[in-house]
Amino acid sequence: MTSLATLAASAKLSRVGTRPPLLKYLRDFYQRRAFAFTMARYSLQAATTKSSLGAAWHVVVPALQIGVYGVIFGVLFSSLRPPHFVPYLMVGIVLFQYITGCFTEGARAITSNGSLVRSLDFPRILLPVSAVVSNALRVVPLIGLMLIGLVLSGELPSLGWTWLIPDFVLMTMFAAGATMISARLTVHTEDVNQLLPFVVRILFYLSGVFWNIDKMIHIAVLKPILHYNPIHLYMAIARAGLIQGYTVTAMDWIVAAAWAVAILVLGTLFFWQAEEKYGRNV
């Protein structure tokens, strides 16, 4: 021990720049949560003040996508389309965009906030969380419009519609965990940002956004893997609640919840482990 270390110890000073223990870290995060929420809300406001359509773009873009895929798969490849195609597609696009939007935008949560990370001290996990909150704030009005769209295309509100609430909570937990993982990976190497679009593209085709993955794939080994893919499950649960003729099993719910908890816990631990290094790598 150096003589300065002895001096520090005798004055009961504590070491700076070490990673806080997990529980303290989570407590700090909880105390500072208002920062993440306010930052999400304000940056959303700031981003839309300059464009002429403003916040409307958050609705126009998915509506255009529903239009494009509706024409391609509803008219051109009509043999592939599942029953109640328009509601099926609306639920698929809106929820898929939400989940993948979180971890693609959130991947830059640390790297694009470099000056913030380098000048203020707060649990860094607030940044990916803020990215998820910002996506959630954007998707809630969109889900409202989606429900109106469902009614217009002939679906009737039922008790099953309430399934959307726990389902939304589960997919948000999953998305938050995935965002923490992508945010840390991007700090280590920016190349992740180049690869993420491919990951999203693959998930897009494999999660049954616009076709019924259970009926499309006939390879026995792949069937359960694709079925229990978390993104597919969250969409399947929403469809079972919202659209007539679709069902899910209790097992689907259990696996969906297990994914949500597992990825959230894993993502939090993974993100926390590099906490003291985020200032350096951006």
Binding site: L4, A11, K12, T38, R118, S119, G279
Partner: protein, 276 residues
Amino acid sequence: MSSNQPLSNDIGAELPEEQRLKPPVFLEPGKTPVVVVDDVHLKYRVFASGKKVTRVNSRVKRKGRLREIHALQGVSMVAYEGDSIGVIGTNGSGKSTLMKAISGILPIDAGAVWASSRPSFLGVGAAMIKQLSGEKNVILGGLAVGMSRSEIKAKFDHIVDFAGIRDFIDLPMETYSSGMVERLKFSIAAAREHDILIIDEALAVGDQDFRRRSEARMRELASGAGCVFLVSHSMKSILDTCNRAIWLDKGIVKMDGPAIDVCRAYAAAQGAPLDD
């Protein structure tokens, strides 16, 4: 300093093992230490792009395309209760890096920093969003420095008046002059009680009146059980607010002691002696 070197105030009592001379750590026995910095090294690793620097720089080492900059090369110091310490040195001497190492924002490569509580960096500017109104930025900045919503609400009027921007509080911050932005930043960060506060070039802007008030607030913050670090190129600011100063040069402490002595030596080395 090496690990077995005795603590001493006698200048030149013992030479450190490195080739470059480091003065012994400035100690004031009897006072309570709040920050102890022990032989801190910090290296930046950056990807080199562009042409190789032809002049040999001792602080830059190349490892393939990864270039290493040894920004802090064994800095030791002790800050005591009630200290307000000016940090001076030329651009790139490691002042801001040392402050970020002390606050724990940048991880250090060797050595250690101890503190009585986590030092807070007055760097609220990075959290602000210029498209939004001053009012929203007070809320966002307040949350960023760790105030609660109710605390911000209670101090809102005080912050706005201290910054002197009441007439413009509902306008987007991008319409503010740079002086107004700096005043707002200081007012937000200084509204909170900090035990250990680090201020990096905040008071250079702002008019005479604001400068006087902000310096008074800094003295107030240092007067309790706390301590304030002020990084500045203005010798006047440092002499007005600080009792002590540290002169950093190329990543090591060149001089540490009473503000007037250190400022005088630094100004003389810069070729612009202080006119008292």
